[in-house]
């Protein structure tokens, strides 16, 4: 690894100032499970690494605030997967957090980091999109809250401005009873990067939301408000057709090593149908957790 200096501010202002002073020569460090790999392979070469973990204003707490569930920027996947409220009300996020790598990775990897790293295959992003997550950031221009859907641009690129730091991710309280599921395609049953990720949520109003990733530059959110997908008695054929329309924007890269584009598209449809079925079953069974 190339040398860099290590800063460990204890105040958020100081972290923002470091980013302002060094611009693209500074990188933020939370869990490190993406950053350190890229430092080692040389794809990024910062002069300064800013460790966020001692900043008093940042935490890994998961708590209710103003009717939303607030997940602190330093919350790691292990804690998210184990949190009773997330498992009950945002179960697909818990399922996604539980498959982001091995336990050793999950003990360090932060949700905020997974979002900011902006990989199209990021497992947590589809569920965050489905739940309408908002990203709270602090930067030179102050504090703002942005829907995640407006944050993610494409691989490695977000709309976060230079010098902005994520302080929390907020999940709005669900307005109706809703059950969800996160599914994915991998090359083995052991932990693996996914070649398709998908979250499906169905609520008691018959609204179906789906978000899928790894089939294009960014995960996409779609919804079916006709009630067809949510209808337990609707035939699979009709649902498959509806899904085909919803997934029309899927554009898997031809360059991927993990799976070919046609297989990915086919799996998106297979997973879509299965996820819809699972969400319906869960809704019928009652509450999660």
């Amino acid at each position: 690894m190339r040398a860099f200096t290590y800063e460990r501010p204890t105040r958020l202002d100081d972290a923002v100032a470091l980013l302002a002073a060094h611009g693209p020569d500074a990188r933020l460090l939370a869990g490190g499970t993406d950053l350190i790999i890229r430092l080692r392979d040389g794809t990024i070469r910062p002069r300064v690494v800013v460790d966020l973990k001692r900043i008093a204003a940042l935490d890994g707490d998961i708590r209710e605030a103003d009717g939303a569930l607030r997940i602190g920027a330093l919350a790691v996947m292990t804690d998210i997967a184990a949190d009773a409220r997330i498992r009950r009300d945002y179960e697909a996020l818990a399922e996604a957090a539980a498959v982001v790598g091995s336990i050793q990775i999950r003990n360090r990897a932060t949700l905020a980091g997974n979002v900011c790293n902006a990989s199209p295959a990021a497992d947590t992003v589809p569920s965050l999109l489905v739940y309408g997550a908002r990203v709270v950031v602090t930067g030179p221009a102050g504090v703002r809250s942005v829907p995640l859907d407006e944050v993610f641009v494409r691989s490695g690129v977000t709309t976060l401005a230079a010098g902005e730091i994520v302080t929390a991710i907020e999940l709005p309280r669900p307005s109706t009873r809703c059950r969800s599921v996160h599914v994915r395609r991998t090359r083995r049953r052991g932990h693996d990067l996914a070649s398709v990720t998908l979250t499906c949520a169905i609520d008691t109003d018959g609204l179906t939301r789906l978000a899928y990733g790894s089939l294009g530059p960014r995960p996409l959110l779609v919804a079916d408000d006709t009630g067809l997908l949510a209808d337990p008695s609707a035939p699979d054929g009709a649902k498959a057709e509806r899904l085909e329309t919803l997934f029309a924007a899927a554009s898997p890269s031809a360059r991927s090593m993990r799976a070919s584009p046609d297989y990915r598209l086919a799996m998106l449809h297979v997973l879509g149908l299965r996820a819809v079925g699972t969400a319906i079953e869960r809704l019928a069974r009652g509450s999660a957790g």
């Binding site: 040398a3 083995r188 049953r189 052991g190 932990h191 070919s260 046609d262």
Partner: protein, 755 residues
């Protein structure tokens, strides 16, 4: 010091005492080569190019040399001219690439610096001017007319194949394949991918000037072989080259032969200081792999299922340098008729050079590729004939003592029993659960064809024992079984036995650790040394007791004279008397070469395994779940049952790796795309068969100590065809290419062509 309890001898052969070296492994004290600290060592980093083949125009080390702490940058120009070359079969591999790099990862230069950081930084700053050249990385490309040649024809003067990428062509056979008639002929072409050993320990090498010679540390499986290579390259007598071979953290064949030891040795001598090179995992993947293969099998049967002929054409894609790869092709395809009675056979096998990682030995040694083809073909034959796959094997299996390869060792095990046991364990006669399919396959591999192992055993004055044995214990547990043998023969408690390995200055010659040979070859050498000691003890007892030597029996730790039984220790203490001392025994096992034999020698023994699996296939996604995996090996005698189980189950899971998920992904230029652990997948603890069972057949019919045979490759040999047969049984699709990734299975199920 505790007194040994003469009445109880724990750790005798056939039991499973704790592994020798086990305590060190669970406390983190086991010193692998990367853990060894040498005072004043320079850190070495390789400079490589990001392409498969290139003409080296210039190497500019000036920026690298300016990095503080850098002591030298070695390129081809800094080595003797002509470039020193080495290799176990052909002296083709240069110490550093000269003129041209021939595979992705071949080093052009090496940096030696005071710190790892400085070496890494300097390696980045070495400026190589190069011109990428057309490379061949597939069989078709290598064989195409006008294909660029991987090796210069001048490397093989007088060889009619020198102007091609075919390194060698091997032909075996008997009978008249074209003249016999068969009722049913089954033909197919089967492909085996490029895979890598992926031992959890990457390769590591150290070298240091040692008086007027050199000392080399390496995770090498063949220390004496390495000693010879280094001595030859440095023009030193063997006695001035000391090879230390710490226990490798997994070898699987990838650490059998020299890779960068010569380079590190040159650096150490040039710098006058120790030098250390530990490869990254990515560099290890670039350094070693298994040969890939495309094998066409055409088999003829009578209606009743008996084999009439086998016609095999096998093309193995080896790497840019031969290493031991051609031997894997020769030996692996020689047994292409399997363990079956085959009236007529024709086998043509080629080792084909390519601009890829040099392939080398890898558990199975050329057999898994051939067995994938032949056993898949057998399963197809069973379907074509309408005969049960188990019955088809049993009909054709050679019986114990039957010659099934003319001129070679007859069948040395009750293989039908092994098949029967596997079938019994999987419940072959009762149908599988709905939605599941079953498959079965057998695997045969020749053991070593020649061999030489020496051992010295020292029975010390208090009855404790030191064994010198040059085997490399890379996890198979050699150290433990040698100790068990000596403990049994000399009446010492197991924890009074010390085994010394891995130091050519102290341990006598051992040819190599490979071919599952060490239980037999070194085991017999150790046994021989113990028997030598027993002979001396017999003389000692006769003298002490005033009887004739013929009246003394020394057996398994006891001295018996008529009705009297004395522990060895008693006789020893009295016999050595006031001067003390020790009793030294020397043992040797030798299997001579046979120059008339196509492989240079008959098989010392065969490894035989039968694997049966039950799978569930998700037709929509192509996922295979191995619900049950049964593996049964014919081992003669399990010297240490727990270690045998560990090796067989490990081999089974390793076999599932190349069956379900492992393969190098190359781009069109021959560059490896999936270097490293993120995109080269091997099985984790979550990828296991839902139920894995292993068993052994023990008839005491092996040539090793107490009737043992070599083992630990068998359970890998036929995993792939067993799984593919089960997939066919479950879904009806026949797949002839590995690995059976979900995507590949999905394509076959949906008849979707590869894009």
């Amino acid at each position: 010091m505790t007194e040994p309890d003469a009445g109880v001898l724990p750790g005798r052969v056939g039991t499973s005492p704790a592994r020798g070296g086990g305590r060190a492994r669970v406390t983190g004290r086991q010193a692998y080569v990367a853990d060894i600290r040498l005072e004043d060592a320079l850190h070495v980093k390789l400079v490589t190019l990001d392409c498969a083949r290139a003409r080296i125009v210039a190497v500019d080390a000036s920026a690298a040399l300016a990095v503080p702490g850098v002591r030298l940058v070695l390129g081809a120009a800094d080595l003797p001219d002509p470039m020193p070359r080495f290799g176990p079969q052909f002296q083709d591999r240069p110490v550093l690439a000269v003129g041209e790099t021939r595979y992705h990862g071949e080093p052009v230069a090496a940096v030696a610096a005071e710190t790892r950081d400085a070496a890494e930084e300097a390696a980045r700053l070495v400026r190589v001017t190069y011109e990428e050249l057309p490379a061949v990385s597939t069989i078709a490309a290598a064989l195409a007319p006008g294909a660029p040649l991987v090796q210069d024809p001048s490397m093989r003067p007088g060889d009619p194949l020198a102007a091609s990428n075919v390194l060698r062509e091997h032909r075996y056979g008997w009978g008249d394949v074209d003249g016999v008639t068969a009722d049913v002929v089954v033909e197919g072409t089967y492909a085996f991918p490029m895979v890598t050993q992926f031992a959890i320990e990457p390769h590591g090498f150290l070298a240091a000037p040692d008086g007027d010679g050199i000392a080399v540390w390496s995770s090498i499986q063949h220390p004496n072989w390495l000693q010879r290579v280094i001595a030859g390259l440095l023009a030193l007598p063997l006695s001035k080259v000391r090879v230390y071979a710490p226990d490798p953290g997994g070898g699987f064949g990838g650490k059998q032969h020299a890779k960068y030891e010569p380079l590190v040795a040159f650096i150490a001598l040039r710098a006058g200081r120790p030098a250390r090179l530990v490869l990254s995992l990515e560099e290890t993947f670039q350094a070693v792999r298994r040969g890939a293969a495309e094998i066409r099998v055409r088999s003829g049967f009578r209606r009743d299922g008996s084999l009439v002929f086998r016609d095999v054409e096998a093309n193995y894609l080896i790497g840019a340098y031969a290493d031991i790869a051609d031997r894997t092709v020769a030996k692996g395809t020689y047994t292409s008729c399997g363990p079956y009675r085959t009236p007529a056979a024709r086998i043509v096998a080629r080792s084909i050079l390519s601009n890829t990682t040099p392939s080398t030995a890898f558990r199975g040694f050329g057999n898994p590729q051939q067995i994938w083809a032949v056993e898949s073909n057998m399963d197809e034959a069973a379907h074509a004939l309408g005969i049960d796959p188990v019955a088809l094997r049993l009909r054709n299996l050679a019986r114990p003592g039957e010659v099934f390869i003319p001129g070679d060792t007859p069948a040395d095990g009750d293989w039908a029993r092994t098949v029967g046991r596997a079938a019994e364990l999987i419940g072959w006669d009762t149908p599988p659960a709905p939605g599941r399919g079953r498959g079965i396959a057998v695997g045969l591999k020749s053991g070593p064809t020649t061999g030489l192992s020496y051992s010295t055993v020292r029975l010390l004055a208090d009855g404790s024992v030191v064994i010198h044995a040059g085997t490399s214990d890379m996890g198979q547990g050699a150290r433990t079984i040698f100790a068990q043998i000596a403990a049994q023969e000399l009446g010492a408690p197991l924890d009074w036995v010390t085994v010394v390995m891995g130091d050519t200055a102290v341990v006598p010659y051992d040819q190599q650790t490979s071919a599952s040979r060490s239980s037999v070859l070194m085991g017999n050498a150790v046994l021989g040394a113990c028997r030598d000691i027993q002979g001396r003890l017999r003389a000692m007892a006769a003298r002490l007791e005033g009887v004739a030597e013929a009246d003394v029996v020394v057996d398994r730790g006891e001295v018996r004279i008529g009705d009297r039984v004395l522990p060895i220790r008693d006789v020893l203490v009295r016999g050595l008397g006031r001067l003390g001392g020790e009793v030294i025994g020397v043992g040797e096992m030798r299997k001579e070469a046979d120059p008339d034999h196509p492989l240079g020698g008959t098989a010392a023994f065969f490894e035989f395994n039968c694997t049966a699996v039950e799978v569930e296939v998700d037709r929509a996604t192509g996922d295979i779940v191995v619900a049950r995996h049964v593996t049964v090996s014919d081992v003669g005698t399990a010297l240490n049952p727990s270690q045998v189980r560990g090796q067989d189950e490990g081999a089974a899971i390793m076999g599932l790796g190349h069956t379900l998920m492992e393969h190098y992904i190359l781009d069109d230029g021959g560059r490896i795309r999936n270097l490293g652990a993120i995109d080269y997948r091997i099985p984790t603890s979550m990828d296991l068969p839902l139920r894995l069972e292993s068993d052994v057949i023990e008839h005491g019919d092996g040539p090793g100590p107490y009737g043992s045979k070599g083992m630990s490759e068998g359970a890998l040999l036929c995993v792939a065809p067993a799984v593919a047969a089960a997939v066919r049984d479950a879904t009806g699709v026949v797949i002839r290419d590995l690995p059976l990734t979900p995507e590949r299975v999905w394509r076959a199920l949906n008849e979707v062509a590869v894009p």
